[in-house]
Subunit: 223 residues, 2 copies
DNA sequence: ACCTGAACACCGTTCAAGT
DNA sequence: ACCTGAACACCGTTCAAGT
């Protein structure tokens, strides 16, 4: 009987071909739709209409898949051409990370929890080194500064991503209840600064932190 | 028969009392011994010689337990008395975080993945604000700088923790194979800096980054 | 070459039943 | 008041059997 669907064995030709790439793409869709916490081989397989074990033909288990997703995330970074202005070019890299993180906040949260062993994510590193070298730093110093800049940017984005979903600001009721809780925390300086602490303007906060770092880089270059 | 152990119901008096605190402590032991990835309600319960469901009498599920562990981690931060020197006092806070992270690296990795909603972890915030206010910053500015400093420190520690277990440096063979891989990456500046990129001196890197940040704070104060 | 059935050893969590 | 048995709906992963 030819009409009975094959429940096992090689898929009928014409069926959607599985591939490492399509699996990674499906994983990103699951992450975007349901959040990082909901990701699993079985969930991705369901999304693809396939058995979870089939994924093992293209992917070396869950960890390998998540690494691939992190690489896919990083490979989506888009840097504009360099202008030659150190400050502007460094800023562009930080904003490339931030734009990507806003694009796919759940995937960004995943990336920040993973240590990539592969060399796929080196493009930003090369860019940063290029800029710092062109500005006059030694290779050794440029590596140090590059690491610090990346640490600071990732640290800032970590907070931004975890501060809640994309929505710019939380609702006013939550803010003011948080503010009064801070004011009654018993910690004098926390209480004093409760107004500012209860609020978080993503754009302003990022701009402030980035300028802070860029000022420090400029000062170091001027020495 | 009184000798038959009760397999159900209230535990015999004299049995080790379960409590939220003992559960958190046991969780930290499991994390230290087997790593964050191995933590589960069932594993913690096994460690305590108890059924996993019993934990629900003290803890509101796994997420709540992990939040409690994060709080416990933060409450273990030890700050020395303030000296009055801004730079030295800021440095002490950064090192308090770092010491704690080295003490319990696996727990530190957990903390960095969680967004704490509670107010238990505000002591470092208050300390930082106190120092910055005493140095002459406005409350608004001190909040911005405090956030930036924390982001940078956490970003640096994130890398340190993920760079591998406590061991200072990886074995030379791995370093040199990594170096040659970087040299042949096809990225010119990565290749040029391969020597430095393949190495990571935790102490030197942290000191560099921290000095960098502290210089920037000092520059801002001097304006 | 690629997929799945059967199977195993895990999870978190609810709820009723026990003492 | 506190614990567990039974139960459910999940996981990742191996391996042999299918086409």
């Amino acid at each position: 009987v030819t009409t009975a669907p094959a429940k096992r064995g090689r898929p009928p030709r014409g069926a959607t071909q599985l591939s490492r790439q399509s699996i990674v793409a499906a994983t990103l869709e699951v992450i975007d739709a349901k959040g990082v916490a909901e990701v699993s081989l079985r969930a991705v397989a369901r999304h693809l209409g396939v058995d979870a074990k089939s994924l093992y033909n293209y992917v070396d288990g869950l960890d390998d898949l998540l690494d691939a997703v992190a690489e896919e995330f990083l490979s989506g970074l888009r840097f504009p051409d360099r202008s030659g202005d150190t400050r502007q070019d460094l800023r562009a890299i930080a904003h490339a990370f931030r734009d990507r993180a806003h694009d796919r906040p759940e995937a960004a949260a995943l990336v920040m929890t993973r240590q990539l062993a592969s060399f796929e994510g080196l493009a930003p590193t090369d860019r940063l080194l290029a800029i710092l070298r062109a500005a006059g730093m030694s290779t050794a110093e440029s590596v140090h500064v590059m690491r610090l800049v990346l640490a600071a940017v990732i640290g800032m984005l970590r907070r931004e991503v975890s501060v809640g979903p994309i929505s710019g600001t939380a609702d006013p009721a939550a803010v003011s209840s948080r503010e009064s809780a801070l004011r009654e925390s018993g910690l004098p300086h926390v209480a004093e600064a409760a107004h500012a602490l209860a609020r978080f303007d993503r754009d302003a906060e990022f701009d402030f932190g980035l300028d802070f770092i860029l000022d420090a880089v400029a000062a170091r270059l001027a020495r």
